[in-house]
């Protein structure tokens, strides 16, 4: 009886260990694809520019939004590197300068992305407007 309990413990430990290791290896190997978006710095370090769709995320640079008749141009920054984005279409309500954004589209070169979709990224801060003002909301 006691021996069986021991065997079951060994079985369970090997089961858990093998699955944890496989999951770890799979996630490690797919790290490039598990991340939802690249930062502008990641884009700078790309070996070659893929022709398929990519997502780039970061902050919309201050005073960079420029709206033409049918296109909106802005700069996404991670405060180390920047990338110019051009987009045509509607943007989410929370899209604004100094706020997080994820753009999906095609890289033209390391500094220019033609977006087909814009997602606003929300940060982890929650507070009432009065508090934000008191903090000298940027």
């Amino acid at each position: 009886m006691v021996k069986k309990v021991k065997l079951r413990i060994v079985f369970l430990l090997s089961l858990i260990l093998s699955i944890v290791l496989s999951v770890y290896l799979i996630l490690k190997a797919l790290e490039k694809d598990v991340v939802y978006f690249l930062s502008p710095s990641d884009v700078k370090n790309l070996e070659k520019i893929a022709s398929k769709k990519v997502r780039v995320g970061g902050m919309v640079k201050d005073k960079s939004i420029d709206i033409n008749s049918d296109r909106i141009n802005f700069v996404v920054t991670d405060f180390k590197n920047e990338i110019n984005v051009s987009y045509s279409g509607s943007v989410p309500n929370l899209f604004s300068e100094n706020k997080g954004v994820v753009v999906e589209g095609f890289l033209q070169d390391r500094n220019y992305l033609k977006a087909v979709k814009i997602l606003a990224k929300h940060d982890e801060n929650y507070m009432p407007p009065e508090v934000k003002e008191a903090l000298g909301g940027k």
């Binding site: 309990v5 079951r8 413990i9 369970l12 089961l15 858990i16 699955i19 944890v20 999951v23 790290e31 598990v34 991340v35 939802y36 978006f37 690249l38 930062s39 995320g57 943007v91 989410p92 309500n93 929370l94 899209f95 706020k99 994820v102 979709k117 814009i118 997602l119 606003a120 990224k121 929300h122 940060d123 982890e124 801060n125 929650y126 507070m127 009432p128 407007p129 009065e130 508090v131 934000k132 909301g137």
Partner: protein, 235 residues
């Protein structure tokens, strides 16, 4: 511990406590909903859609918490063949499953106005979907397998394997770039939710915990009655 109590006694306690838990749940839920829907302020950035958080976050926490408990009990079931734990895990899983679905649906409803999309295959959202699927597999395993001994073994293995996903959910937002925001409430460091929003969140979490306790007790009582009717003196 449960071995020391007679089955009649357990059933007496669990069936009696149901109505008290129900009353407390209704009171806490009323306070929680008033706080979160009317008294709490809107957010500086997302305005009123912040109120979805008061359902989304407690639902996610409860479903993750329940799965963790089920996994630990399942280790006890699998290794020590504890005959009493399986009734508890079996009764806990339905509410955990419902809450994981609620977390996914409310997250989707929040995502559309905030992010601009209903769904994103990012690490947090995908790992939460996997949790739902594990709950689903657990529930199905009891349906598919008619031999109880087998069902106990396989369902507890599903819970134990699924538990590997729990730390992945928790740390997904730290390990990878995700569309989902990082944790606002940290174990170490400052909380980035203002207290006027943190209080309703806490009350709603208590309400959800009570609701899952209520569903658990109802399910547990049903299981007990089923055993009694079968004339099985299991407990």
């Amino acid at each position: 511990m449960l071995n020391l109590l007679s089955p009649g006694k357990i059933f007496e306690i669990s069936s009696k406590s149901t109505k008290y838990v129900f009353v407390v749940f209704i009171i806490v839920l009323t306070i929680g909903l008033t706080e979160s829907l009317f008294l709490s302020p809107e957010d500086y950035k997302q305005s009123h859609s912040v109120r979805i958080m008061y359902v989304h976050v407690p639902a996610a926490w409860t479903s993750i918490g329940i799965f963790t408990v089920v996994a630990f009990l399942s280790i006890g079931i699998f290794i020590f063949k504890n005959k009493n734990f399986f009734l508890i895990t079996k009764s806990l899983v339905p509410s955990g499953f419902i809450f994981s679905i609620i977390a996914l649906v409310t997250g989707s409803i929040w995502g559309k106005p905030t992010w601009g999309t209903w769904w994103a295959w990012d690490a947090r959202i995908t790992s939460m979907l996997i949790l739902s699927l594990f709950y689903f597999m657990y529930l199905l395993s009891w349906r598919i397998i008619s031999d109880q001994e087998k069902a106990i073994k396989i369902s507890s293995l599903i819970a134990i394997i699924g538990a590997i996903n729990i730390p992945i959910i928790k740390f997904s937002v730290n390990w990878w770039n995700t569309l989902h925001q990082g944790p606002s409430i940290k174990i170490i460091g400052e909380t980035s939710i203002h207290s006027s929003m943190l209080i309703p969140l806490g009350i709603m979490t208590a309400a959800f915990a009570l609701l899952s306790l209520l569903i658990f007790l109802m399910k547990f009582n049903t299981e007990m009655i089923r055993i009694k009717n079968k004339g099985l003196d299991r407990l």
